[in-house]
Amino acid sequence: MNEELDNHIHKLRLQHKLSQQDLATAIGVSRKTISTVETGRFTPSVVIALKIAEYFNVPVESVFELKKSQ
């Protein structure tokens, strides 16, 4: 059984009407970091996960979750 990291950054960004660049500037990373995390091509560190969650003022589990697939 494989476990993959799923995220809701795109949904949260749309809710807050933010661009990837806005979010990247707010948490001090490059836009490429946000875009690759958002599309699942790059797994971020706990620090970035916590920064994103803190920025949206939600628990980290609301931004990232382990998706169990067969």
Partner: protein, 163 residues
């Protein structure tokens, strides 16, 4: 991008641009080195191919100098350790940097190990000829620089539409 525009960027964006430039530098260096190796082999001695070859060599050298000067201009724009050791504060940039260096190191190690093992064998000299060790070491270096540059450019140029 002008120096004023670069100054307005965040450290993460500057690091990414710097890594991109080092990738281009690596490719230019790899091509330059590979062409020098071919030149040493005296493949194109005369005729129009000789001038095309020399022109390509010159273009590679000029590109290499331009990219090196441009990347040097990023010195002092972010942490000095990141500039020299390619260990960046931006996570994705650091991931791309580590991946490219790791792959280049693997190619270099395998290539040089083969040279060390077979380098003094007679059949190796018979097959590769004079100055074989030097030429093959140059080819191994070219390949590792080329791989480093390609990995950096591909990973940083990927499709990432901002919505």
């Amino acid at each position: 991008m002008t120096a004023t525009q670069v100054n307005t960027l965040s450290i993460a964006e500057k690091e990414q641009l710097y890594l991109n430039l080092t990738g281009k530098c690596s490719i230019a260096l790899a091509c330059f080195w590979a062409l020098l190796t071919v030149e040493d082999a005296n493949v194109f001695n005369d005729g129009i191919f000789h001038w095309i070859f020399e022109g390509t060599l010159l273009v590679c050298l000029i590109s290499l100098i331009c990219f090196a000067i441009k990347s040097w201009s990023y010195k002092g724009q972010f942490h000095t350790k990141a500039f020299w050791t390619m260990q960046f504060s931006d996570e994705y940039t650091d991931y791309v940097s580590s991946l490219s260096i790791r792959l280049a190191f693997m190619v270099m190690s395998i290539g040089l190990m083969m040279l060390v093992v077979f380098g003094d064998s007679q059949w190796f000299y018979d097959l590769a000829g004079e100055n074989a060790l030097l030429s093959l070491a140059q080819i191994v270096l070219s390949l590792s620089f080329l791989l480093h540059g390609i990995v950096v450019l591909v990973k940083l140029q990927g499709n990432d539409n901002d919505e």
